[in-house]
């Protein structure tokens, strides 16, 4: 499946900076950005830059992956609850001998997501374990 550089570009702001939306009417947070509030339907939504820290809501270690992620196997995927934002989907990287657990503190880093050589490179936010 070929990637669309245009589809990726639409999400630069969101994926590069952890920019989501907040509904001015019902105060619900979203990531990535939305044009209309999912909860109340209001179009009165504003950009919101979320804090780059959170905790693990759930996670899994992937051993069998799609082709473009094969080099990274095994890698951790996770649902992260941002401190001042919603739950988002991402990877947890640079894990050494630490054992992951639900509730563990993490912080955001800017990393390459996929693409090598001829393909366009895509970047996004991933997470690293917070040092004590």
């Amino acid at each position: 499946m070929k990637k669309s550089v245009v589809a990726e570009w639409r999400r630069y702001e969101d994926r590069y900076r952890l920019m989501g939306s907040v509904c001015l009417l019902c105060k619900e947070n979203f990531f990535p950005r939305v044009t209309h509030c999912v909860r109340c339907g209001s179009s009165d939504v504003r950009d919101r830059l979320f804090l780059r820290e959170g905790e693990i809501y759930s996670f899994s270690k992937i051993h069998v992956s799609p082709e473009q992620f094969q080099k990274q196997v095994p890698y951790y995927v996770a649902l992260i609850k941002l401190d001042n934002g919603p739950v988002i989907s991402s990877q947890i990287v640079d894990v050494g001998s630490e054992k992951l657990f639900v509730g563990m503190r993490v912080y955001a880093v800017f990393r390459k997501v996929s693409g090598t050589g001829e393909q366009a490179l895509t970047y996004g936010i991933k997470f690293r374990l917070t040092k004590k």
Partner: protein
Amino acid sequence: MKIGIISYGAYIPKYRVTTEEIAGVWGKNAEEIARGLFVSEKSVPGLDEDTITIAHEASRQALDRVAFNPRHVDALFVGSESHPYAVKPSSVTVAKALGVGTDYYTADLEFACKAGSAGMQIVSSFVSSKKARTGLAIGADTAQGKPGDALEYTAAAGGAAFLIGSDDYEHIATIDDYVSYTSDTPDFWRSKHGKYPHHAERFTGKPAYFKHIFGATTYYLEKNNYSPSDFDSVIFHMPNGKFPRTVARALGFTEDQLSDSLVVDFIGNTYSGSSLLGLARVLDSAKPGDRILMTSYGSGSGSDTFSFTVTDAIEKMQTGVTVNDYIEDKIYLSYGEYAKHVGTVN
């Protein structure tokens, strides 16, 4: 108008491979090599790291330390010899990820290992000419070491960023002056589609590294009527641990003046990040009033010399993550894993 460093940041990837591990693969004597190069391990980029991500992390630290509004960054230059694209600048992606607006001056830089310091000169000039209020100069690399070649032991990954601005901003160090010494010297090059660089072995010493570091540094000292003893710290480009120690002695600098800068001993040569990471480490423990001299070197060849004077504001900066913290945060890789990380095996 005085220009100066408002803030700085650094980043070294977590992964390491030892000289012993590499030497073992090629049937070489690890101890002998480590002794000769003063390098026993080097930093390796993560599978999802590249010059852009490294440049971003270093820049983000620089901005976050002083809670700097990225929209006030009017210039941003990433210098590297491992830009991910041949055409499409690393600088714009770094800028976008930081939240820099659209009204900024930028382009990517390449001048082997001195692309970072060249960026510092360019940003300093934009600020001095009042075209930019502040600018970020970043040197970052994920250097390519040919398997089995001598450079494999030192070609490393890392970067540092310097936020430079006019005196409307508080400086942690003033930028007193900068010069360059340049020539056309074929000591080290990489062709357009080549994966690995070529080097001219011993020619990379006297006629290249030493000549240009000497040239820039002595020119600077003469121009400003200084001698080596006027400085508290000195930083030289670090292709290995031997060259900066040799050139320091030859120029009349002491081991004490040089020691804080020697990141190479722990992580190898981060190319465009080398002298800049050395400067960052010196600033991590500098005292108000310290005078610092830095001379970079880029093959091809050229050297840039800068001098800085540390201000009282430095002490506020010395909390939080240091270059030493990055050095000590590490995971060791086997040669096979290292090969996967740097793309030798796909």
